[in-house]
Subunit: 383 residues, 4 copies
């Protein structure tokens, strides 16, 4: 068993070229993780699910994002003075942080979640046993492996200004060509310190952190929640639901597939086939109308019923796409010697959260020819 320092000394590093971070160096263990089947599968899972239908360049995958997250997590470690014994664990955790994602990531997760658990839970199972567990156990103890998915050190990867978010904003910006995601990762990485075992933002990074949260807000508005991408995602979700209800798709089976595998599979199902084929050939439903999302948060449970009523009333399939209102995320900030939450200290961040909630819309979608009918029915039933 080698320590991280020994790896470095031995020069036993593999070099990978990344368009965002330049040359990223991996240890041989990390290379084995990367070459494993579960990680190679991520090569087939687009980071932005259906956004490529709007932004033709958005074909980047969770595979390269995993490498980028490792690179940034390692940089935070170095700058924040994380101990050399923790770094290899954190690097591995960063590399594996998305391994539990199914095809179409968050889009499919929304409907698969109650069957197989969240992508974090799926990931945890994959890391603790099977191919990944075997590789990891050559260097880490069972206890260390279990910790890989946990907090608080892992917050370096997952907290509100962590390595995961930094990487995906930069990456999504690079591949879509939308400038908003350009953040100052340099400054951010050097403005995080470890306090009580947790990453904390230092005051000198206040603007850099605000800027990241603004960038994220902007990316949501222009890319992540782009109308056309949402329509395609909702159609896919419906296709998956129908295929599961008909028994044609087993939730467990979904774990092993990538985007195109899932597309191919769904296309051949009786229940969900038509919707999947429509998405694959970009013959998408259209927006009939939109409604403020705020009203729908308390009746999320009844969305299925609302869709049924709408569909019955129109004599055609009508779907609702109801976005989640993101909850305020804590970013601990050290300011004037005290720890506060970023959104308490920054009026700007607070207003972002307000603006985000306020602008979210529920989309009512259906086939183009039924749009007028559906808009009328939605007005009648939903306002």
């Amino acid at each position: 068993m080698f320590s991280f320092d020994e790896w470095l000394e031995c020069g036993l590093m593999v070099k990978i070229r990344d368009p965002l971070h330049g040359t990223v160096e991996l240890t041989l263990l990390e290379e084995r993780l990367l070459d494993s089947a579960p990680m190679q599968r991520l090569r087939g899972i687009r980071q932005l699910a259906t956004a490529y239908l709007v932004y033709p360049g958005a074909n980047h995958t969770r595979f390269e994002h995993s490498i980028g997250t490792l690179a940034l997590a390692d940089r935070i470690c170095r700058e924040a003075g994380v101990s050399d014994s923790s770094r290899p664990k954190l690097r591995a955790a960063a590399l594996l942080h998305d391994v539990g994602h199914t095809a179409f990531s968050h889009e499919a997760e929304a409907v698969l979640c109650r069957h197989i658990g969240s992508h974090e839970q799926v990931g945890k199972r994959m890391i603790e046993k099977g191919e990944l567990g075997d590789i990891l156990s050559s260097e880490f103890s069972r206890r260390e492996i279990a910790e890989l998915c946990g907090k608080p050190l892992g917050a370096i990867i997952s907290f509100g200004i962590g390595a995961d978010r930094m990487d995906y904003l930069l990456r999504d910006s690079h591949y879509t060509g939308v400038a908003y995601g350009v953040i100052d990762s340099d400054r951010l990485c050097s403005s995080i310190a470890m306090m009580g075992g947790r990453p904390v933002l230092l005051e000198r990074g206040l603007e850099a952190a605000e800027s990241l949260l603004v960038a994220r807000f902007m990316m949501f508005r222009t890319v992540y929640l782009h109308k056309t991408a949402r329509i395609a995602s909702r159609m896919l979700q419906q296709s998956i639901c129908l295929a599961m209800e008909s028994g044609e798709l087993s939730p467990c089976f979904a774990i092993g597939m990538n985007d195109s595998g899932m597309f191919g599979f769904l296309s051949k199902t009786k229940a969900g086939g038509e919707l999947a084929r429509l998405v694959a050939s970009r013959r998408l439903y259209k927006k009939a109308c939109s409604l403020p999302a705020s009203k729908f948060q308390e009746r999320r449970e009844s969305i299925g019923k609302l869709e049924e009523e709408l569909s019955d009333s129109c004599g055609c399939e009508v779907l609702l796409d109801v976005p989640h209102i993101p909850k305020s995320e804590g970013v601990p900030l050290e300011i004037g010697g005290k720890i506060r939450q970023l959104h308490e200290a920054s009026e700007l961040v607070l207003s972002l959260e307000g603006a985000e909630a306020q602008r979210l819309e529920v989309l009512v979608i259906c086939e183009k020819k039924h749009v007028a009918k559906a808009a009328r029915a939605a007005k009648r039933l939903l306002s």
Copy 2:
């Protein structure tokens, strides 16, 4: 006399390479303007006055910014459908919009303004007569020339999301290496329409405009109001004041100088020489303490007196740097068929203005060795 279309057809264009906008094409008239003494002088005036003392790359000048502003103004014209007869005027106005700046631009303007007028007023005089007036009169009527500096069409250059601001954010970002200034000029330029002869932001550009205003806020926090740059600026202002009071510097004479000319001149004055030499060799005053700027807005007039009291009480020179709290700028926004102001429609923009005012600080500065003394005195006298 050629029309703009004829220029284009004749291919009588001069090409200039700009790091931000690629190849920028100028008509022969515009080239003559650029080659005039008043415009060539801008080659010696740094866009960011003293920021190069903090960001070594910030040596870009108002000369290149003028070319970039022309490029963006022209692009807005094309996208917003401004008539071909107005375009040449607007291009010329963009090229000349900063010609009235003295050395150290806004920093010096603060103390020179009451003697020679604002840079817009100085610019207007330069455009209406002398070398620039002569060149312009070969293509434009006297009335047209007078209009070059005016509104409302000129708002394309100068309004809150106009060509001037777009260019300087992009440019300052490129040369300082601070990422915050990266904006989506592509989307902004295509989200401005002319209504009633004025540029108006269309709803589809809402996020792009918010993003620009956030970028500007961030650049203020990290670059424009960087402590060290402010200290150097305040010292220079004081040097200019002293040189004027002693009669060594005539305000009119200041108009013809560039940054290094002014540096050289001030260095040799009896009254302001020492301060100028300290700045030139980067032996800067230090911050003794800072105070919220909000309290100082109503007593701007008494700042000179406060400085005197502080200096007397400490037995050494103590200066105050009091930033202006920017006033809310109207950006007309068309939303749902009505025209509103951007900061009314966007909670985010509103909170930016709040944050900007709230975070501004007055700096108390003096020689390093007197810092403790000055801090104590400031506490006593100013709180």
Copy 3:
């Protein structure tokens, strides 16, 4: 029927965001072409076939490259003064220039070509009839459609410094993170003129053109001919060959598939399945040894036999990957009033071609455990 000018005037343009060229505008006709099944299929065909196995970011597709080629071709048209009546045709031709590519593009073409023709021939058939032909005939005559694929005007797209090549160098560079592909498309586009109906490089573009050809050489050395990507490609080719020989894969059927469809299909064939599965899971053959390619050019026909001999002699499958030595491409250059060929006028270009031929290598590849054996056999049989 609308003319291109009328489209522009009507504002009937669709906007697409491209990371390289910013906003690209398409006419409604072009949008219909893009939404057709043959073009949508290109979303599933990676520009760089197997290079993503080495450069994780290289997931960009021929779909976005097609849009980028249109953007650059249009720009050359504007700068070179191509008539407005020819521009719509050239734009359509640029958009469709790669529509005949099968899965894995050039890699598969090498083995499919003698069955179904080159990708240009396949493309021509797709353009003249079927969905694309129908869409095109709404604006173009039969004769015009036939011309879309031809020269000499089309040389703007396809010649040695044409829109196709400019776009792929920039794009491959952006997505792999390898800097070599950065070229000065600005200068190139403005250094091409039409003479006798053909694009000709003007002397002022000499360095820009040389630089493009150097960039291409460098990209070949570091990306396109990267050892690992070549091994994966050769394995895929072999898998396709075996599947065709066994009758499991019909060449015509290959035309309709994208990369992952082909992967899925091959994986299930008896004859070619194992090789395809090895590539899909990145368990690749290794290089046993390499030999200068120059010696193999005259015996390309006998490569199959050589592989058999090697395999027999080793008792395991041994494959040869023999690159084509690219032939000198004419780029007409106007220099001192005469038209010459670029490689005649530029010692640098000439030496590039020499260096390219000289550095090409034939790879001998096989399973890792047989590497030593295969290297010995290759030495014996091939030198």
Copy 4:
């Protein structure tokens, strides 16, 4: 006295933001060097002397280039495994490598050199005594300081693919907007090893090194030897010569000035004033004609006489600008276990050197109104 490791451990680093290399960290000693008068003077010396007259963005200075060279030299040290005891010396040497440059750098050096020595010699004197010597002696011995300017370790900074060259290519490209200077510094830095105390290029960096040399060639053709910049430089040289001949400018005095100081000084001299003022206001001489430089190499000594003859024959001042044909620079390359020279191993590099020599031109320049006359005289006298 602190070791470099101790600095790092103590966190006693100063951070500077560079547009090319992001955050660059300096030790406190390095910061003192940077704040010294000789280094601060470099803030006023443009990297590209007169190129800003053609490329308006080219206002970057030798000050920021010095910081960038330190950053890249340090990176090579780390990757090539240079000992920790040598790194601080090499970093200091990189920071100071251009401190001996006068105003207008190489342009003025050409005429000042025989009076005060090359910029390396001037630099050596400045480093060994005075302000810089004092600062350095707090950490280094007298012998170590003398070594700072020497080889062979210093070759990391100065050899054909060293830190100096990498930085200026990247930087000149960033500020001019000319794409050619984009090089793969990532790959280059990791392809240099120390052998026998000297930096040697490893075979895996062959293409990266070739690419750098091509980039340099291209930058020479489009930027460094741009006609207009050369004319301005030649005029300045002549102004300096005349001011020295008339005794108005003492060569020693020139060492302390920056670009604008020299401009101001020359403008006021009787002998050289007119030429300096013409350049300052961009009223430049024009090219009368050009001739292949190859013929002039052996008669460099007689250029002054040729100019006189030309001027006499025309009745006006005619100047010749004769570029140096660069001599082949050795870059040791390890290939197949042996050390060779890069230009011997690479046909491409060899042809570059050929092309460079072949395309160089001598410019014959004079006032615009005398151009025809001068062209005729040059034809008569020089061919």
